[in-house]
Symmetry: C3
Subunit: 356 residues, 3 copies
C-alpha cells in the first residue's frame, strides 16, 4: 500500500474521493480510516463478522471483561471540534468495550493557550499522549491532514475520521452496511437486494457513501426517491453508471415500498440551508412512512434511518419488527469496536476467545 506519508498533501487535498481511494484500499491493513471508499467488500465482510463476534462475546460478564482487557494498555483521543453527542457516545462505548482509556479534546484552536501555535504542533502535542486519534471536524479533509502529519512523525498513531465537513463520515457508512448485513442474515446477505433511499439525498453524506459502498455487492438495485432538487448527486449517478449498477430515480415513496428489501429514510438537512441558499419545495407526505405505508411493505423488509428523525417516520412505526433504526445505533457501537480492534490487529485474539 502506498501510505499517506508518501503523498504530497497539497496535491492530495484536491483529489476527488474516488481518486483518493487507491491510496487507502489495497488489501493491506490500512493504518488510518479516512474514507468510506477505502473499504473493499472483503474488509466489509470481515468487519461485520468481527462486530457480530464482539457483540456475542460482550453478552456475558466474563466475555465483557475479556474484551476490556484486549486494549487496556491503549489510549484513544476523541478530538471533536464539531459537536456530535451521538457519534461521541458511540465511539466512547466502542472504546470502553475494548478497554481503551479515553481523553477528550474539544476546541483547542479557539483557546487562548494555543494562540501562536501551528495546528500541526497542536495535533502532535495531543497525539503524544494517545495511541489512536478519533476526530470529528467541520473542516473537510482535516482528518486526512492529521493522518498524513502523524505518518510523518516518529510516533505514528492511527486516525479515524468520525465525520469531516459535508463530505465523509466513513464509520456511519460502515454501520449502515453492518445493519444491512444483519437484516439480511437469513436472506442470503446483501447481494441481489433492492434498496430504496428516500428523503433529502442531495445533501446527506450517509446516503452518498452507502450508495457507493453497495456497488461492491452483486446485483443490488438502488432506487432514489426524492424531489428533483434534493435528488442524489450526479457524481454518484456517474459512479453507478460506470460500474453498471441498476438504479432508478423517483419522486414518490409509496409505489416503491412493495418491492423494497430495505428502505433507508433520511431527514431534510436544514442545517446546510443557509449556505446553499435554496429553499426546497419538499412535499413531505411523499417521503414518509407511517402505519399505512407499513402495510405495503414486505414482511421481512428493513427500515433504516441514520437518526435523528423528524416526521419522516411516525413513532408508531417504532414498534414494528421491520423498524431497525434503534438497533442501527447500537450496531454503530459494535462496528466501531470491530474497526478499532482491526486497527490494533487483535481480531485473532477476539475470535480465539473461549467463554468460561
Amino acid at each position: 500500500m502506498e501510505t499517506l506519508s508518501a503523498i504530497d498533501w497539497e496535491r492530495f487535498q484536491v483529489l476527488s474521493p474516488s481518486e483518493k481511494a487507491p491510496y487507502f484500499g489495497d488489501g493491506v491493513r490500512e493504518q488510518h480510516v479516512i474514507l468510506a471508499q477505502q473499504f473493499d467488500r472483503a474488509r466489509l465482510d470481515a468487519l461485520g463478522a468481527l462486530a457480530t463476534r464482539i457483540r456475542r462475546v460482550a453478552k456475558t460478564h466474563a466475555g465483557s471483561d475479556f474484551l476490556q482487557q484486549t486494549l487496556s494498555h491503549k489510549r484513544a483521543m476523541l478530538f471533536f471540534t464539531q459537536p456530535s453527542t451521538r457519534t461521541f457516545l458511540s465511539f466512547c462505548a466502542a472504546c470502553e468495550i475494548l478497554g481503551l482509556k479515553m481523553g477528550e479534546v474539544r476546541n483547542p484552536s479557539t483557546s487562548s493557550e494555543f494562540k501562536g501555535e501551528s495546528r500541526d504542533d497542536s495535533v502532535r502535542t495531543f497525539s503524544s499522549y494517545f495511541d489512536l486519534i478519533i476526530m470529528r471536524s467541520e473542516i473537510g479533509g482535516l482528518a486526512e491532514r492529521v493522518a498524513w502529519l502523524l505518518s510523518h512523525s516518529e510516533r505514528t498513531v492511527p486516525v479515524i475520521n468520525a465525520g469531516s465537513g459535508k463530505d465523509q463520515h466513513p464509520t456511519q457508512a460502515l454501520l449502515d452496511i453492518y445493519t444491512l448485513q444483519r437484516s439480511f442474515e437469513l436472506q442470503g446477505g446483501i447481494d441481489g437486494k433492492r434498496i430504496v433511499f428516500a428523503g433529502d439525498l442531495k445533501r446527506g453524506r450517509t446516503v452518498r457513501s452507502l450508495s457507493v459502498l453497495l456497488t461492491q455487492y452483486k446485483d443490488v438495485e438502488q432506487c432514489f426517491v426524492a424531489p428533483a432538487d434534493l435528488q442524489i448527486g450526479e457524481d454518484i449517478q456517474a459512479v453507478l453508471q460506470e460500474r453498471g449498477i441498476s438504479f432508478s430515480l423517483r419522486d414518490d415513496l409509496r409505489p416503491e415500498l412493495g418491492s423494497a428489501d430495505a428502505v433507508y429514510m433520511t431527514r431534510v438537512q436544514d442545517e446546510w440551508d443557509a449556505s446553499d441558499g435554496a429553499a426546497s419545495a419538499f412535499d413531505p407526505a411523499r417521503y414518509r412512512i407511517g402505519k399505512a405505508e407499513l402495510s405495503c411493505m414486505k414482511p421481512d423488509a428493513a427500515i433504516l434511518h441514520p437518526l435523528p428523525r423528524r416526521d419522516e417516520i411516525s413513532p408508531e412505526v417504532d414498534e414494528d419488527e421491520r423498524a431497525v433504526y434503534w438497533r442501527q445505533m447500537r450496531n454503530g457501537m459494535w462496528i466501531r469496536a470491530a474497526l478499532i480492534a482491526s486497527l490494533f490487529g487483535i481480531e485473532d485474539e477476539i475470535c480465539g476467545y473461549v467463554g468460561a
Copy 2:
C-alpha cells in the same frame, strides 16, 4: 408491582407524591428510583446494611478491586441538564466503586444537533449505549417520564432520579437516612429518637422527603424550627398527622437542642426567591449552631446538614465529634453505590465476598 409501563403518563403526572407512591413500593425490586416515598423501611434497612458492607470491603485494595469487577460490564449515563457538581461527583464515585463505565450528557435540548428531534427520541438514542440512566433536571417529573418511556421500549434500562425540579431528590433522602442509621448505630437505631429540623423548611426538598421517610420508624418525634413563613409545608404536616406522628412547630432552635438526638440544619434557599416573590423576615441567630449552642447538646447527638452551608453552622463546629455533615457527604457516595448494586441485583455477590 404495577410497573410504570402500565401507567398512563398524562394521568400519572398530576398525582401527588403520596398518590404516586403505590406504583413504586410493594416489596418487589423496583426497576426505577423516582421518589423517596417508594422506599419502605425494609428496603431502607437493607440499603443501609449494603452501603456499610460496600464501605468496609472497599477499604482494602483487594476489596476495592473486587467491587470494581462486579459491574465492570455495565455503563451508566449521567444525564445532568441541571448542573450539580456535588451530586455529579458523588454518583461518579459510586459508579467507579462498582466499576461501571460512565458517559456524560449535559444539555442536549439546546444543542443545534437535536433541533427537530423529539425529546423522547433523544432519550432513547442516549439510552441505547447505556445500562443505567442517572438523571438530574430542573423539569419536575422528567425522570418519571423517561422511566416510563424506557419501560415501553424494547431496551429497558433503570432510571435513577438525581434531583428533578423542586420536588424530588430521593438519593439525598437515602443518604440522610443512612447518616442517621450510622449515627445511632450504638444507640439502638433511629426508632424512638427526637429529630430537630431547623432553617428554611418550606422550600428545602431534603427536609420534606426525610420527614416523610422517618414516619416509617417507631416513635420518632419530629420538631420543626423555622420562622412562620418558612415553616414546613401543611401537606407534610397532614401526612404526619394522618400517620399519628408526634411533631411540633417552633421558631427558636436553642431551647430544642438539649433534647435533640439529631439536628438537621438547612440553609435559606435564596435561589428560589425570585419565583416565590416573598422576602423572608428571617432572624438567622435563632437558627444557628456555634460553639455556645454545642454546649447545650447531648454528648452523642448528631449534627447533619445537606451542604452547602452559609452561616447557620460556624466553622469551629466542624472539629466537634457531633458534626457529621462532612461524613454525610461520603455516606452519599456509599448509599448511592448500594442503590446501584441493588438495581443490578448483586447484593448477594457483594455480601458473599471473603477478603484475602
Copy 3:
C-alpha cells in the same frame, strides 16, 4: 518535616519561594507537591529512575496492566480552574498509567450552586470523594492554601500543584530535569554540563524553576541568552551567586551554541504583556534555532522547549535527533506518574515487578 498544618497560613503566604522551601524538603516523603524547590537532588534522581522504570514496564501489555492495578483503588480530582489542555492531558495519562480513577472540576467558584459557600468548604466537599487533588489555578498560592486546609481536616489527601499563578509549576520543572537526565544518560548525567537558556527568561516560570533546581548538580554552567529587558530575574541571579554557580548573561544565541550541551528554548509570553505594560524590543533572529544553527551545535547536544513554540524553533529542526522537545512532553507523563507513585509509596511495588 514540619508539615504545612503547623504553619500559619497568613504568614506563610508572604514568604518567598526560597523561604518556603525548608517547610517542604527535608528528606522525609512530602505529603504535598507545591514548589519546585522542595525537591532535593536525591529525590530528583529517585523520581527520574522511577519514571524510567515505569516507562519500561508500561511497554508490554502485561506490564501496563500491572501498573494500572497498583492504584486502581484510588481516585484523583483534576481541579483545573485555569484551563490547560496540555497539562491536563499529561496528568490524565499519568493517572491512567497507574489505574487511578479521575474526576474533573472546572470552575466551581463562578457557578451559582456555590454562591454563599466559602471556598474552603467547596474544596473540602470535593476532596471527600478523592484520594489526590491535582490543581491548577491562576491564583498564586492556592495550591498551598488547599494543602494546608486538607492537612487540617480529618481526611487529609495529598495536593499536587499543576501550576498556580505566574510563580510555580513544579511538575514542569521535574519533567525538564528528567529530560536532561535522559539526554545525558550516556554522558555521565547532568553534572558538569553547560546549559543555555534562550528567549524570554524574565517571565517564563519554567526557566526560573529549572535554573534553581540545576544548582543541586555539580559544575553545571548556566548561560542566559535574552534581550536586556527579558533577561533572567535578579532574584535568580542572586541565588546562583550565593550558591557559587557559574553563569553568564548574553544577548545572542549563535555564539553560545557550539559549547552548549543543552539549549532550552522558550517563547515570548505575550499573555502576560497586558499586565506588565511593557512592549519588548525583541529581535527574534538572535534567539532562534533553524537548520543553520543546528550545524553549529555539538552532535550529542539536546534541544528542549516547554512548548508551545512559535517561530523560535523552525519545524525543519523537528527531524534532527537533537530535538527532544516532543519526547519532553511524553517525559512529562512519565515523571508525573512517578511523582504520583511516590506520593502513594508504591515505588518498591513497581520496582519489584517481574514481567511475565
